[in-house]
Symmetry: C2
Subunit: 351 residues, 2 copies
């Protein structure tokens, strides 16, 4: 029996609530599909920061590096600046483990309706392939003339040939397993250094995949298309920032953020990959047992899929679909009054 060593970092807020349920579902799937999971839990969080002055220990990266996969809840707490909570945990992990792909599949799940008028489930299924290691999210920059009227700030974006080509190539390879259509988000008319470079590499990689249909759109027009003609999109490849915006939008037109999973993937397998819901820690509803655990359960399915347990992954997705379709167990965001725990248990039982 294959045994996997998994790290769990529930984090803050509803990250804790939903991670419990995702683990419950994974443990059940392991029992049913003949593999075993050995969990180690880490209390890295804003609470730890308040107590110990850092989101994670100095050797945090080293501690995680031997695991087969990481399940992350969410980090963030009011009063803790984002550059502490995120740049002290999520973002360094994404980078240290070369998780350069942020894979964000969305689809309209059964029993949910889109905010878009008249769109059917089959028209609303897309994958955002987001660059996850460089681009607009850069620590380079700073403030000049601080406190003076002529104060200004510089913020550098960094795009490397290595970074841009590997994410675009990943999108094209994924396209071969799906619709064979890739749309690249650009903004070369406004960002005249970074985006023409992105477009140039996109054209080079596209030429290696003559069997895949490729097109590019400015991110503004692409956001508009996502709500006007989402059926014309399948795989969208985008920079760190554009992928962030487009994937929230994609989640919003499908079931909402309560339903959208995300994988931070190191395709070479040299380092562990990390899976999380797209949503944040939602402090306003934390600890009340009302958060929707579906996004995190679907993230857990991506985790076992990444480990090669595709049958189990598919079974989890089917179980989620079945529970949502029946509609008997629904958290408040789905119009019901059930708890996080109740929905998690329903999915585990439906397996």
């Amino acid at each position: 029996m294959t045994a996997y060593r998994l790290a769990s970092i529930p984090g803050d807020g509803i990250g804790v609530d939903v991670t419990v349920e995702a683990r419950k579902v994974l443990d059940r799937a392991a029992a049913l599909f003949g593999f075993s999971l050995e969990w180690t839990e880490f209390d890295w969080s804003c609470e730890r920061y308040a107590r110990a002055g850092a989101m994670m220990p100095d050797d945090g990266v080293a501690q995680l590096s031997a695991f087969d996969g990481i399940l992350l809840g969410a980090v963030g707490f009011p009063g803790v600046p984002d550059h502490v909570s995120l740049w002290g945990l999520l973002i360094p992990l994404r980078r240290a483990f070369q998780q350069y792909v942020n894979l964000r599949p969305v689809r309209l799940l059964p029993g949910t309706t889109s905010v878009l008028a008249g769109r059917k489930a089959e028209e609303l299924e897309l994958v955002i392939v987001r660059e996850n290691s460089e681009g607009e999210y850069s620590a380079i920059g700073g403030r000049h003339n601080a406190g003076r009227p002529d104060e200004f700030v510089l913020q550098e974006s960094v795009f490397t040939r290595v970074g841009v080509s590997r994410i675009i190539r990943y999108a094209f390879e994924l396209a071969r397993t799906r619709s064979a259509r890739v749309c690249s988000a650009t903004k070369s008319n406004g960002l005249i250094h970074s985006m023409p470079f992105w477009d140039e590499i996109f054209a080079e990689v596209a030429a290696e995949f003559p069997d895949v249909h490729s097109e590019q759109m400015h991110v503004d027009a692409l956001a508009a298309r996502m709500v006007q003609a989402p059926d014309r999109l399948d795989i969208v490849v985008a920079s760190n920032l554009f992928g962030d915006i487009l994937s929230d939008l994609a989640a919003a037109i499908t079931g909402g953020l309560g339903m959208a999973p995300s994988g931070n993937i190191n395709p070479s397998g040299e380092f562990p990959s990390m899976f999380e819901a797209v949503h944040g820690s939602a402090p306003d509803i934390a600890g009340q047992g009302i958060a929707n655990p579906v996004a995190q359960i679907l993230a857990a399915a991506m985790l076992v899929e990444h480990l090669g347990e595709t049958v189990a992954a598919q079974a989890i997705r089917t179980a989620v679909d079945r529970v949502l379709d029946e509609g008997r167990v629904r958290t408040p965001d789905l119009g019901g009054t059930d708890t996080t725990e109740r929905l998690g248990t329903a999915v585990a039982e439906a397996l």
Copy 2:
């Protein structure tokens, strides 16, 4: 009788088609409301670039500076790189004339339906106040190790205290004339230099306007809110790039890009302001007489409103509403078969 000197730059593609109609409507409004318009037309365009090597003459800015206002069509033509067409005309004009406000009001017009399910017109009316002179659109940056595997590109964003505070203050002042609600787009969790600075100034300015309700959201969540709960938004203030994306999205959930006007405004009046549709030159449908002129006609209404002719501006908007509501004249994007000219004439007659 007040006489205004206006510059018209039809530009390329459908920019030419729709500008003719907007001028027709403005001329009719002038005759009816007791002012006069003296037009000077400039052929600055990608065509001029092909012929003369530049989008506009070297002294283009000087030539325009004495006008009371500028009506711009759209620029862009296949084969002419955007950094030529836009950075050779639109963007330098926005900057030279200190048009630091890009005002983008959207509303669901009569006779049109939203792509969002069940949203009524009154829930879909918002204004994007976009920073228009700095931020992510910066010419600073470049390529290192060109042509080598370790090639990379830097793209600098520049945010100044002067630039950020004036756009935010404009939004708050506008809020006092409307709903008294301002939402700021941030991304301080990812862009850790520029956006915390933006947020800091937002908080400072908000403190000067205790009568205005203020909040901030990360741009990803804000894009999601725009499709999930647009009724909770009224004035959205955003950086150059975020404002660009959010305003296209806002246009998409209301009537589409054929309906969305935009003003590049120099609030001090020291320099001329410039009005244009949000849409581009759409080379694929140019010259066929099928483009929807409504966005450009509404941009023209913003122009005369900026000149102080508020009664005329309101009359133009009412005329547009009436024609759309009757639904007898509709361009193809509105589901009809009428021409650009026919719709322009109908609005002029409805005045």
